[in-house]
């Protein structure tokens, strides 16, 4: 085996995820380079640099002991909730909706960090919850409170996309914690009833518009529907092999809005065609398969829930983003992990990956079945 000739420190690294990640980021950098009109320094360079920085961060997270995760779960959650309140207050004073805090060297979006944060705190909660209690209301009540506070704060901002992402991560952890299936079915049925009501009462005007336009994009070809229409034109005009690198007219002539952030997949698909799209899907598939495998091999309940929650959080990002750009979901501001240009989402996703890598490390050091 050639493995013997590779230094141990390198061989020990989780290449099963690092290689797909690098492929995605590299591909993303190429697309960003083209979106900037063939200039690497505009977006692509910072994209790669951020990946490198956050990769180091992920490596560091991966080396943290499980105890620290458990201890930090609740305090981290508390700090994030406090930051959300702070953002809300600043936004209130500023007279508009604000989602970030300016830390000087970067802008911090607490709602982004809450996505892994909610997974961590719920994984911790179910790991400390006595096994016998998982079928009772006591398994649900505290979890509902833990979810309700941040989700409510984020929705107030208002940021529907992130709110849904947080809820999705939390529900996945509850589901995987073994709560009775009928609760989820019941909640799903209730959601079907409440959704139309919420649509007309709770949503903001612009959010409602986005949903309406999603249902009929041509009704507003120059307004909100413009995004969806132009994105579909970009993807559709790419064909099977695309227009070629640097030849995407939709992105280069600015018909495609947000061509380097939320709609980066459309920019890619225009130039690389369906081939490029399938490549991205396959690479994401590899990452999720790795995440699920890590979760299945995890040594204990806490790490299992942690790994699957983190995996599904990334999955939610990808799933909603791709559905949005292909006209299957309303326009919500959710970027595509590792391809969209943007620091916050890169950080969140790398925290998720770092956490899964940590779980993978724990399962290597602590053989399964002992805890």
């Amino acid at each position: 085996m050639p493995r013997a000739y590779v230094p141990a420190t390198i061989a020990r690294q989780p290449w099963g995820v690092l290689l797909p990640l690098m492929a995605l980021v590299g591909f993303g950098a190429a697309v960003l380079d083209s979106a900037a009109g063939g200039r690497f320094d505009v977006w692509a360079f910072s994209h790669v640099m951020r990946f490198c920085v956050f990769l180091v961060m992920a490596m560091v997270i991966a080396r943290l002991p499980q105890d620290l995760f458990r201890k930090m779960a609740l305090p981290a959650y508390g700090v994030l909730c406090a930051l959300l309140v702070l953002v809300e207050l600043i936004g209130g004073m500023g007279g508009g909706s604000q989602r970030w805090l300016n830390l000087g060297f970067m802008t911090l979006q607490p709602s982004e960090l809450m996505k892994p944060g909610i997974v961590l705190v719920l994984a911790w909660f179910y790991s400390v919850l006595p096994v016998g209690e998982t079928q009772s209301w006591r398994a649900l009540g505290p979890a509902a409170v833990l979810l309700g506070i941040p989700a409510g704060l984020v929705m107030l901002q208002p940021d529907l996309g992130t709110g849904l992402a947080i809820t999705f991560g939390a529900v996945v952890v509850m589901f995987m914690a073994g709560l009775p299936l009928r609760w989820f079915l019941g909640a799903g049925a209730a959601a079907l009833v409440i959704a139309p009501l919420a649509f007309f009462t709770l949503l903001h005007e612009y959010q409602r518009n986005r949903v309406l336009v999603f249902l009929d994009p041509e009704s507003d070809p120059l307004g909100t529907g413009y995004h969806i229409t132009q994105s579909k034109i970009a993807i559709g005009s790419g064909g099977f092999i695309g227009k070629g690198f640097g030849n995407g007219s939709q992105s280069h002539l600015n018909y495609l809005p947000e061509s380097h952030t939320d709609f980066v997949f459309s920019t890619m698909a225009e130039e690389w065609g369906m081939v490029g799209g399938l490549f991205v899907l396959v690479v994401f598939g590899l990452i999720f398969r790795w995440g699920l495998k890590v979760a299945l091999a995890a040594p204990d309940r806490f790490s299992r829930l942690l790994a699957i929650g983190m995996t599904m959080t990334i999955f939610f990002y990808m799933c909603i983003n791709l559905m949005m750009v292909m006209g299957l979901a309303p326009v919500v501001g959710i970027p595509l992990p590792w391809m969209s240009h943007g620091g916050s989402s890169m950080m969140t996703n790398m925290i998720c990956v770092g956490t899964i890598m940590a779980v993978e490390r724990w399962s290597r050091s602590a053989p399964k079945g002992l805890s």
């Binding site: 096994v131 995987m176 073994g178 559709g236 099977f240 007219s249 002539l253 369906m274 799209g277 899907l281």
Partner: protein, 695 residues
């Protein structure tokens, strides 16, 4: 499984099963996304490729240069001028207020212009371009171009705009152009119509010959960004300019005639009486087609619509007037044709008794013994009353129609008012009343039901002058056959010509109309009353009650070539008309001499037409500024208003019950030719009334 106690192992088992569910979910979503991707990129590829291409490539039509309108010598009456312009596409404007503010600053637009544009923006359908400014200099044009990224919907471009070198002089003759209206677009569905900078003919020849003048648009294919910035040119197709039309008009004469009308409201028609070519056809005051073509502003609109001289009416074709005594040569001709001996005379004692009524001559003191020649040059009414009774109205009416009265001519203008030639059958049909003596009396002096437009009077003068059945022509055709003869006897024509020459050159009613050149002009005066003597005397007082002044003429009298008709509305009598005819005719034979006279007048009138309109505009602008009360009418409204202005001023609405009082022919008051329109004060005593011989 039911109520098994939940243990750690059960939960682990459940975890594994549910992980599998999630994995399946991920796989399912992945499959769905791949399918959707395939559907968009492969199955629907063609559709989206077309959409992407139509995004990328922007096809801009280049409005074609319009065909020129030329005069008979090839001089331009309407041409094109290269210019820089700025338009707005209302649909694409994001912030209307801010855009207008920026543009007003960049182009230094006055507030009334800004309000005009705002009104148009409010009314315009989204796709219709609204003109902000045209004929810009390079600096201002460039100042807009560089700010383009922050001004979505604003389109600066280089193009051509219509230019009428003599302005108001050709307003009614040529018409004007303007942006296509929504109705035009409905009719034609041609994207060219909504191309910024494109204008279509709105009136006159511009409208009538639209298809010929228009040309074929060029096109420019460019790659443009979503915000409209042009990335690169993909190719340009040149436009094909429209075909020119050449008119029979003599541009210099047209301009001279228009200017010579001065402050009066009237028409001048000059024709080549051998061919029917119209050499000049002026209706004044007029509008400046240059500013109409740029979209008329509120102040100018107010100025035009409030003018009692109705500048919007083409009086040559739409004005109807009782022709007054200018019909007398025609009536004399009918007498000759009917076999009357021209030397047959009648004694005029100032009136003619018919039954128990006396019909007065304009000269209450009487003309003594009057034969046909004297009846024409002295304009004796009694002579015509007397023989008209004998010969009968039908003969007169037939001759009137033969000479063009009451006829509509094939002219490239919509809706001529062709007036009336009354006869017993007509009256019976129209009013169900019998023809009365006073009707004949009225008709022989060109009053009563008799109505004609100035063009008909010019045609009548031409046909009498040349004895040929000339038809007025506006399009130059050098190979047109000569009009056929009317069939008059040459000695009859010569007799009438001599009598008409006497009007001007001898003992007649228009001695001051004698040409200052070595050409003898023949003519006939006419004064038509507007209201009865009980309302006003027709000479002074309220402008709208003053008599119309007429003059028909031709020259040279012995070998007629040019015929002319002048009608001055409310001029107070023929004295207002014949000096104009004299100067216009002089222009044909000696331009320098005529111009000298005109320049003298214009110095008194306060400048030429353009200068007077400009100063009038400034008065209005200073008075109303941006707050001009009446908003500018849109195209449909403008057409409607102009139509309103075109309705014949006087149509006999009621049956006439008495004879009109004939108006004195030779001028009794000091010359009015220098008196500005409504003001009765004569400013020049230089032209003292010439004592016409043998009154």
């Amino acid at each position: 499984m039911g109520k098994l106690p939940v243990t750690s192992a059960v939960l682990t088992n459940r975890f594994e099963r549910r992980t599998f569910v999630l994995g399946a979910l991920q796989g399912g979503v992945g499959l769905m996304l791949a399918t959707r991707l395939g559907y968009l990129a492969v199955a629907q590829n063609e559709k989206y490729q077309a959409a992407s291409e139509s995004n990328r490539v922007n096809l801009t039509l280049i409005p074609p240069r319009r065909g020129w309108v030329l005069d008979r010598f090839g001089k331009a009456l309407a041409s094109n001028r290269a210019d820089f312009r700025v338009d707005i596409i209302p649909d694409r404007v994001v912030d209307r207020d801010r855009t207008m503010e920026t543009l007003a600053g960049l182009l230094s637009l006055p507030p009334d212009k800004v309000r005009d544009i705002r009104d148009k923006l409010d009314k315009a359908r989204g796709f219709q371009p609204v003109e902000v400014a045209a004929s810009l200099d390079w600096e201002r044009y460039a100042s807009v171009t560089v700010r383009l990224p922050e001004l979505p919907g604003v389109i600066p471009q280089q193009g051509f705009s219509r230019f009428y070198p003599t302005g108001a002089a050709v307003g009614h003759l040529v018409g004007y152009v303007g942006a296509a209206s929504a109705e035009d677009y409905e009719k034609e569905r041609n994207p060219l119509l909504v191309t910024p900078g494109f204008k279509i003919g709105k009136d006159g020849l511009e409208k009538h010959f639209e298809t010929r003048l228009r040309g074929v648009p060029g096109a420019r294919r460019v790659e443009a960004t979503a915000s409209g910035r042009i990335v690169r040119d993909l190719g340009t197709r040149e436009d094909v300019p429209g075909k020119p039309i050449q008119l029979t008009i003599n541009a210099g004469l047209q301009d001279y005639a228009a200017r010579r009308v001065g402050l009066e409201s009237g028409s001048v028609v000059v024709m080549d009486c051998e061919t029917g070519d119209i050499l000049a056809m002026a209706s004044m005051p007029s509008f400046d087609p240059n500013s109409f073509s740029d979209g008329i502003g509120r102040i100018e609109w107010k100025m035009l619509s409030e003018d009692d001289h109705v500048p919007l009416r083409n009086k040559v074709l739409r004005g109807l007037y009782p022709p007054g005594s200018t019909v007398k040569p025609m009536i004399a001709m009918s007498f000759l044709e009917a076999g009357l001996d021209p030397s047959a005379s009648v004694g005029c004692g100032g009136g003619l008794r018919v039954g128990n009524r006396v019909f007065h001559c304009w000269n209450r003191r009487g003309h003594g013994t009057v034969d046909m020649a004297k009846a024409i040059y002295q304009s004796c009414d009694v002579y015509f009353y007397h023989f008209a009774q004998k010969i009968g109205m039908d003969t007169i009416a037939k001759m009137a129609r033969r000479l063009g009265m009451g006829q509509e001519f094939p002219m490239p203008y919509p809706g001529q008012s062709y007036g009336t030639v009354p006869d017993p059958a007509w009256k019976k049909k129209k009013y169900d009343k019998e023809w009365a003596v006073y009707d004949t009396v009225n008709a022989t002096i060109g009053q009563g039901y008799m109505l004609s437009n100035p063009l008909q009077q010019a045609v009548m003068a031409s046909r009498i002058a040349s004895g040929r059945e000339v038809m007025p022509r506006l399009l130059l055709d050098r190979n047109a056959p000569q009009p056929k003869s009317m069939g008059f006897r040459q000695d009859h024509l010569d007799y009438i010509h001599a009598a008409m020459s006497e009007v001007v050159n001898g003992r007649g009613t228009a001695g001051r109309a004698k040409l200052p050149v070595d050409v003898l002009m023949a003519g006939k005066t006419g004064t038509a009353q507007v209201v009865g003597l009980n309302v006003a005397n027709g000479k002074s007082g309220q402008w709208k009650y003053r008599d119309h002044g007429h003059f028909i003429a031709f020259a040279p009298f012995d070998k007629p070539k040019y015929a002319c008709a002048v009608v001055i509305e409310h001029g107070g009598g023929s004295g207002a008309a014949y000096p104009i005819a004299r100067d216009v005719m002089t222009y044909i034979f000696d331009q320098a001499k005529a111009m000298e006279v005109l320049e003298g007048f214009e110095a008194q009138w306060g400048g030429n037409v353009q200068q007077r309109m400009a100063s009038r505009y400034n008065v209005f602008a200073a008075k109303y500024g941006a707050s001009a009360p009446k908003p500018v009418p849109d195209d449909a409204e403008l057409a409607e208003q102009a139509e309103e202005g075109r309705k014949p001023a006087e149509a006999p609405a009621t049956v006439q019950t008495d004879a009109a009082a004939p108006r004195p022919e030779p001028e009794q008051v000091p010359s009015r030719e220098t008196a500005p329109g409504p003001s009765p004060t004569a400013s020049s005593g230089a032209a003292a009334p010439a004592a016409t011989g043998g009154q």
